[in-house]
């Protein structure tokens, strides 16, 4: 299809929970120790597909996708940032230190940080908690490369907000609460001219609103956006995770995504 695709380095592996803490209301940081070989080629925006239930049971039937919220390419540590929303995420956050998780990954195509970028704008939304996890490793490497980084993040209310301590201190963190009638997107226009590159994550209606506002700006900035779709297989065989691309029809969030060029997405 002529689309960029990462080399397959996926594997099935066991990760051990090393720490576990609720960082905001219904938002849990799950620290992991994973085989170095599984993390060596991981990239920001990629995800793992986790068995969230008793391995001897087929209910729940499907694995759950979670972004790699942190990973060490030269080591064995990684983390998930889990929004508790249903039975699988609840099961996951009820595990304790030392317990083992069965996962497949790293999966999908991540964000690509342009060599020439100096100013990075990140914008994150969510139904309740913002979808910050896929962006965390990117913000970390951008800060390490001394880019100037601004993150606009929107949550229903302050209690749901991931704490600034999850971010590199260099990141300028601006927060917006829908409860207070505010939105992140209402504040992006002045920043779109400043940024060389824009990265986003959030539900489809959030990304659609972003596309609308940013589309009125000239020249249109490069925007890479991470989406969430129900996934049955996460390896590209079921064709369930369809995301519409205006030129080539349906693409798979698990293979060609979950990070897409926002301008080509039909939302």
């Amino acid at each position: 299809m002529g689309l960029h695709q990462t080399e397959d380095n996926l594997q099935q592996f066991t990760a051990t929970i090393t720490n576990h803490r609720e960082v905001a209301h219904n938002l849990v940081w799950v620290g992991l120790r994973a085989p170095a070989a599984a993390l060596r080629e991981a990239r920001a925006g990629q995800f793992v597909f986790v068995r969230c239930g008793d391995p001897a049971s087929f209910d729940p039937y499907l694995r759950r996708p979670f972004s790699l919220a942190a990973f060490d390419v030269d080591g064995e540590s990684a983390a998930l940032l889990v929004r508790v929303s249903g039975r699988g995420s609840r099961w996951l956050t009820e595990r304790v230190e030392g317990e083992q998780l069965d996962m497949i990954g790293p999966l999908g195509n991540g964000y690509r940080l342009d060599e020439r970028s100096r100013h990075l704008l990140a914008i994150v939304g969510g139904e309740r908690q913002p979808h910050l996890a896929p962006l965390l490793p990117l913000l970390k490497s951008a800060a390490a490369r001394e880019l100037s980084v601004t993150l606009l993040i929107e949550a229903e209310r302050e209690a749901y907000l991931p704490p600034a301590s999850l971010l590199p201190p260099e990141v300028e963190y601006q927060t917006f609460f829908r409860e207070a009638g505010d939105s992140a997107i209402a504040h992006i226009k002045p920043l779109l001219g400043w940024a060389d590159q824009v990265v986003a994550a959030g539900p489809d209606d959030f990304l659609a609103a972003l596309k609308k506002v940013a589309g009125a700006v000239y020249p249109r900035p490069d925007i890479q956006a991470s989406v969430e779709r129900p996934m049955a297989c996460a390896v590209g065989v079921c064709l369930g995770c369809a995301v519409e691309n205006e030129r080539v029809g349906y693409l798979r969030a698990c293979r060609e995504g979950p990070v897409f060029d926002l301008w080509k997405m039909v939302l």
Binding site: L10, Q11, F58, D59, Y61, L62, A234, V235, C238, C241
Partner: protein
Amino acid sequence: MPRPTINLRVELAPDNEHGLSLRNPVLVASGTFGYGTEYGRLMDVHRLGAIICKGTTVEERDGNLPPRTVETAAGMLNSIGLQNRGIATLLKDYAPKWARWSTPVIVNIAAESLHDYAELAYQVDTTPGIAGIEVNISCPNIDNGSLPFASNPQSAAAATRAVVEATSLPVIVKLSPNVGDIAAIAAAVEEAGADAISLINTVLGMAVDITTRQPTLGAKLGGLSGPAIKPIALRMVWQVAQAVSIPIIGIGGIASPADAIEFLMAGATAVQVGSATFTNPRAALDVLDGLSAWLHAEGIEDVHEIIGAALPPQ
């Protein structure tokens, strides 16, 4: 480890000129294993009895409006809508690879007219690297009221005949569970020249999103798969086994060795592992290894000894 003396080899097309002899009776089901390449990093594809590729149509198809999958109790619904790139692309991109594999690949075909079934069968027949054809007859027959071919004995037989007449390859006809008298349909398909029968395809179902108050799936209706459908599939295999004498391949909710053994005892000569692979990529190999271990523990030397064990005495 199981002793190599156990015979697992099965023949799925005894009356066909090429035959369809598999080194073991564990296959992977259409639509759950892509084109055989995707799971290569997670399991040893070359130990499978055979691979059945994603359903292919004559022309490329975009598939249905998302959402296309939803999890249900011990299962899932899907409404993919046969998204695929068409037979020509499939044969060009994959058949040369398959020709070098030791695991046979069976091409699953789907069509909405007899003409297209015949066209697909003809194209597959003339391409090396393909061991057989599985015919998905659960699609609507647009030339005749848009009821699925699988829904009655006449149209199921007509689709079977269209394929059998256009190919010398072994033909497996895949039955739908969304019918009244499955045994009558199986008998008609056998009569029309099928070498084997596979069953079941997914069970028609739906889910409602209580937030939007609308059907969850974009296509509204979807096909149920997974452990939730196993009892239905097993019942149908058992009924069909009493109505036909050609080999049967059991499908539906197989996730463990014991599930597969149940299907064999109900009269299946082989089984397909479907959506369980999504949860456990090694599911088919776990089924295979567990089956060998069980046969060994039972002192059984040939898998044929248990096939049909649960059928009533004739």
